[in-house]
Symmetry: C2
Subunit: 376 residues, 2 copies
Amino acid sequence: MEKEPLLMLPGPVPMPERVRAAMMRQAINHRGAEFGAVYADCVRVLKTAFGTQNELFVISGSGTAAMEAAVGNFGRGKKIACLVNGKFGERLYKISQRYGTAIEIGSEWGTPLDLAGLEAALQDGAEVVTLVHNETSAAIKNPAEKVGKLARKYDALFVMDGITSIGGDVVQADAWGADIAVVGSQKCLAAPAGLSAISVSERAWSRIAENRPYYLDLAAYRKSAGSKIMETPYTPAVPLFLALREACLILEEEGLGPRIERHRRLSSSVRAAAEAWGLSLFPTIDSDHAYSNTVTAISIPDGVNDSDFRGTVKKMGIEIAGGQDHLKGRIFRIGSMGAIGAPETLATLAAVQYALVKQGFRLKGDGVMAAAGVLG
Amino acid sequence: MEKEPLLMLPGPVPMPERVRAAMMRQAINHRGAEFGAVYADCVRVLKTAFGTQNELFVISGSGTAAMEAAVGNFGRGKKIACLVNGKFGERLYKISQRYGTAIEIGSEWGTPLDLAGLEAALQDGAEVVTLVHNETSAAIKNPAEKVGKLARKYDALFVMDGITSIGGDVVQADAWGADIAVVGSQKCLAAPAGLSAISVSERAWSRIAENRPYYLDLAAYRKSAGSKIMETPYTPAVPLFLALREACLILEEEGLGPRIERHRRLSSSVRAAAEAWGLSLFPTIDSDHAYSNTVTAISIPDGVNDSDFRGTVKKMGIEIAGGQDHLKGRIFRIGSMGAIGAPETLATLAAVQYALVKQGFRLKGDGVMAAAGVLG
């Protein structure tokens, strides 16, 4: 078998061998003490990464399932203010439309959020606020703490999507007032795709909706997690839990602080490369917004064909991401997520640099050496 | 590490090594041709096992998620007649209560369904009928074809839970008029827990609800599966898909007919053992209902303590199931599901026979030898 391509995407990301090997095990009974201990390990470590002491559950479903659990359990029939400056903010808005009265507070993708618009919606009675902390579609980091303060000021519940920041960037769900926070398994945690986790504050529990979805009913999750042996209400994706536990133990061994610092250094090195090449970073940031710590979006310069360009990179065994929806052809994105380090990043930047030159782009300077300067 | 216990449960079941090894792979991009081919392999084989030519999708969620997908996409706001003679029929009723006007047509667990009651509900305007084909909680096989005919007579949609029969018993979704049918991965398919699949007829598509759940929105599944490369709408549980593909290829190599016959022989041997011991099978069957092909429920005789009895079996490295809910302590259940054969079944029956004797039960005869007579 040919070597797998190196996935330098904003998820899924390469998994350490320990994580993959954990899935080889024979089936175990998910109503037993051993599975309960696996689940408990995941919860313990994830609470640290979330920055929360709230109850936390692992869902057998992707990040989108956790987003729906948030909105479906706590937004039903309510006025929901949805901050949108990228694809995943939009997704939370679309989910909210199915459960309540959703108000889109939109900005161009990758530009600062309309916080004044949010305050107006809150004054107008919005009871739930949704935010994507790290919007990978545009590689922008949104001001979660500020949004949390606004939500609290008007006594609204704050739903924070930390799918691509938790485990790779500073997240303080409790300090920021995130009543509900969610993460995905195949992003900064470097576990396989297919699981997500969600934390729920006491404040949120006291406002849980009457008519909830079934598979994603968090009251059922709470009941099952609270029994003698930790359980899930319905059959969990056991191999993925075994893998997530390994990924969590690796996070614990590395330490959350050093792990975030590693992500920071890697994404800084990618930004240094872009600057050296003379390429523009895509997001428009301000004092509230920052470049993402886990993915970098770079504008594609005139004359460079997106698919040929990424095709050249792929020929060298590396997959980077294009833009999504209307950003397709306008940006490319490089992940700095999970278990990767300097070797993967340098290889990727070298391949990108070669592909840019091959496309006829005149580099301002050597991005690979600039990145090495950050990493060395 | 100690050897894993042998799971002789009505799911999860032991997985062949090929299936488990498939999960060791490095992460792959789920928006690529390779994943599309994996998904397509699963769909091709599952259609055969379902007995359907309808569209079929794999969901990253357990059988309960597929049940909710059925009801949530096709039952919203409708009158739903739910046939119940066990725990999973009850679950479909509970899910239906969250989406429409659910009518429970109940019988004692493990006794024949009330088909006259169903016809009355249909005459009274029920638009959807739900049925569990193989009710593992009571080890009874319900008359799916007859229910399908009744549903069609009154132009209702027929939702059939084939979670524990598909791949291990004869299922003819199309011939029986099952507009929606579902299966779980960790049952007769012998794949890991965490996936389910659902088939949808043209008739059902034409009646899809307006306001659907999001993660389980089958219109989104349809759109993504219909693109050039087969995709899922949201991030799928990739390692589980890789494992399910192997499990499906194994099913194809064995052949569906021989596989069903193997399940039939194994469950017959367990019933033969029970009869030889002088124990009663739990379900009450009639000309419409039969003993399950994939799990056998046996009444616990007076004087035998359920948990001590199963504890003795477990000491020998074998897990059998007790009863659920109000049947706890009244029955024990032995799975004949998935990839197991005569060795696992004979070992289990020997351990059970020993444990019965240890509990002071006076065997009428030698159940192990009776089972060997069926298997040899």
